[in-house]
């Protein structure tokens, strides 16, 4: 049944014809160096991964050369927005124009248009794990092509690639399309080292409350493990408060293991990914360097397994390969000089965060629907899960967050999120609007790094 579905999905005029037997053989015999799951196991440092992708094969090749010279650990492959929206015809046209003129007519690599046979040559040449970065609600074909190319880490998920990116793509469809992705990843995971799935914790990167970020990370993890995935990365981005980053990471590590075990997936490996600041960047490039460096210090403190880098050109657009690679080597430098950092925790904060996460998780599990994805779907629909600043119509947008004086993100209004009165009182006790209006506070709090 599933194989028949896969044949239909992969039978597309916009990409190579699929030879499933050949792909199985390729993955079974693929170099261990292509698997990030293998690298996680055998490395004792934080892996460094930038973002990046260009329309043409040659430009991606040159980008990868720059990254390798900068001692990158994991290569990225960022996909263009037409492909993300399944507009393969436009991706094809724009790739042709990019190849003719040397102008970049796409904001990423149109992987489906290039196809797996071509892309695999590049992947095998660099013999380094590659992570697929996209933002696609329907990534079925994209992921088939990625895995056939030797790209063995797939970012995304039905919630984290939908609520921040789309206004009205149907959420129930996204769950089913991602279920397909998980199943393909699970099946290929049996052949060699496991395929790693990674969730996208930054969400809208605008005052995201850690409790909701963690709930969504845990739920996407469970939805993935329940289809048979054996290697999963939960992630979050720098909150703006070092304390909140430390508390978040302690809690997400504890709870991801706890929930994976409760649901019977104790054999699954869970990793933590930390995103350098994902909010608005300063236009002063020296300040950006300083911000990025602070992010790296925090990633070390929270003992992340992987850090995803930003560049000093963030405020200005897509960075050049040179600038991008410099960010990688600077991050490696900082990581190398930070040894034996202290273990920090804050019991009161951790307790408060764990209680909020557990209460929300319980409400999701108590939804009367028969499957986990339907429970999650209903919980988003009725605002039990609600993220600030989502463009999606299904997100209720009732919860409001602001920063306290130490820049911790706190619930000002909980909307329909089922956190207890006690936790809400705790959160609100930290807030001081300083005599300004709520909106003035929010504007200030979004722009703290400017």
């Amino acid at each position: 049944m599933f194989q028949a579905e896969r044949r239909i999905i992969t039978n597309s005029p916009y990409t190579d014809s699929f030879d499933f037997d050949e792909i199985r053989d390729f993955i079974s015999g693929a170099s261990k160096n292509l698997f990030i799951s293998h690298k996680f196991k055998n490395s004792n440092k934080i892996l460094v991964q930038p973002r990046g992708g260009f329309p043409t094969y040659d430009k991606v090749f040159k980008l990868y050369e720059e990254f390798i010279n900068a001692k990158v650990d994991i290569l990225p492959l960022t996909i263009d927005s037409n492909t993300r929206l399944n507009d393969y015809e436009m991706a094809k046209k724009m790739l042709a124009l990019s190849e003719e003129s040397d102008e970049n007519m796409l904001n990423g690599y149109p992987l489906i248009t290039h196809g797996y046979r071509t892309t695999r040559e590049m992947v095998e040449h660099f013999d380094t794990p590659i992570s697929l970065r996209h933002g696609t609600p329907d990534a079925r074909l994209l992921v088939e092509v990625a895995l056939a190319s030797g790209i063995f880490e797939i970012e995304g998920g039905p919630i984290t690639y939908l609520l921040p990116y789309s206004k009205n793509f149907p959420l129930d469809k996204a769950f089913l399309y991602w279920k397909y992705v998980e199943r393909v990843c699970a099946e290929y995971s049996k052949l060699n080292e496991p395929i790693n799935r990674e969730s996208f914790g930054p969400l809208t990167a605008t005052l995201q409350p850690p409790a909701i970020v963690i709930v969504i990370q845990l739920l996407e993890m469970l939805l993935s493990l329940e289809e048979g995935v054996k290697s999963f990365s939960v992630s979050f981005s720098q909150t703006g408060s070092m304390l909140q980053d430390i508390v978040s990471s302690n809690v997400i590590k504890k709870l991801s293991r706890k929930y994976a075990d409760i649901f019977g997936y104790s054999d699954a490996k869970i990793h933590l990914v930390y995103h350098q600041w994902m909010g608005a960047f300063p236009r002063n490039k020296e300040f950006s360097d300083s911000l990025i460096n602070t992010s790296t210090v925090i990633a070390s403190l929270v003992r992340a397994d992987k850090i995803i880098t930003k560049t000093r050109d963030e405020a200005f657009g897509i960075p050049t390969p040179k600038v991008n690679a410099t960010a990688v080597s600077n991050t490696q430098y900082t990581l190398n000089i930070l040894k034996g950092l202290p273990n920090i925790s804050d019991e009161e904060e951790e307790e408060n965060l764990i209680e909020m996460v557990d209460d929300i998780m319980e409400a999701v599990f108590n939804d009367p629907a028969d499957t986990l994805w339907r429970k999650v779907f209903n919980s988003i629909k009725n605002g039990i899960i609600d993220i600030p600043f989502s463009p999606h119509i299904i997100n209720s947008g009732e919860a409001i967050t602001v920063r306290d004086k130490n820049y911790n993100i706190r619930f000002y209004k909980r909307g329909n999120i089922p956190i207890s009165d006690r936790c809400l009182d705790y959160e609100r006790s930290k807030i001081d609007l300083n005599g300004m209006s709520l909106v003035e506070n929010i504007i200030h709090d979004i722009g703290i790094m400017l």
Binding site: K167, P388, I446
Partner: protein, 134 residues
């Protein structure tokens, strides 16, 4: 007072849109927020459906200009005389003078035009205008 608001055209700048919604609610308005990426026809439909007093469209980087040209035509098809039409944000592509922008958008059919005006000042003016109308 009922307000319909949202971001016009192929524009997904959600942050300002949410801040407008929160501010309007704080001022006691009943808000119907159509969110980002909304077509002019959808705004007009929502104004009729909700019997709104105000339509407040927001836009960034000149996206509104191309989408506003049909406003007079749409207004002429329905009885919308009692409705205050307002638009605000960054209303031009690149730099432009207020003296040029405001008359242009007034000619499109907006009663109030806010080009790079602070949100609270804009909302104060809307409230004053509504009181004056009463």
């Amino acid at each position: 007072m009922r307000v319909v608001t949202g971001v016009v055209g192929n524009d997904i700048h959600v942050v300002a849109n949410r801040l407008i919604e929160i501010s309007l609610k704080e001022r006691g308005f009943e808000v119907f927020n159509l969110g980002v990426n909304t077509y002019l026809e959808e705004f007009i439909d929502a104004v009729i459906e909700t019997d709104a007093n105000v339509l407040l469209i927001s836009s960034l980087n000149g996206e509104a200009e191309g989408w506003s040209r049909d406003l007079l035509f749409l207004k002429s098809r329905f009885d919308l005389d009692g409705v205050l039409f307002a638009i605000g944000g960054n209303l031009s592509v690149g730099e432009a003078k207020e003296e040029e922008i405001i008359p242009k958008y007034r000619a499109y059919g907006y009663d109030l035009v806010f080009h790079q005006v602070d949100l609270n000042i804009g909302l104060d003016i809307i409230e004053d205008t509504l009181k004056g109308k009463r």
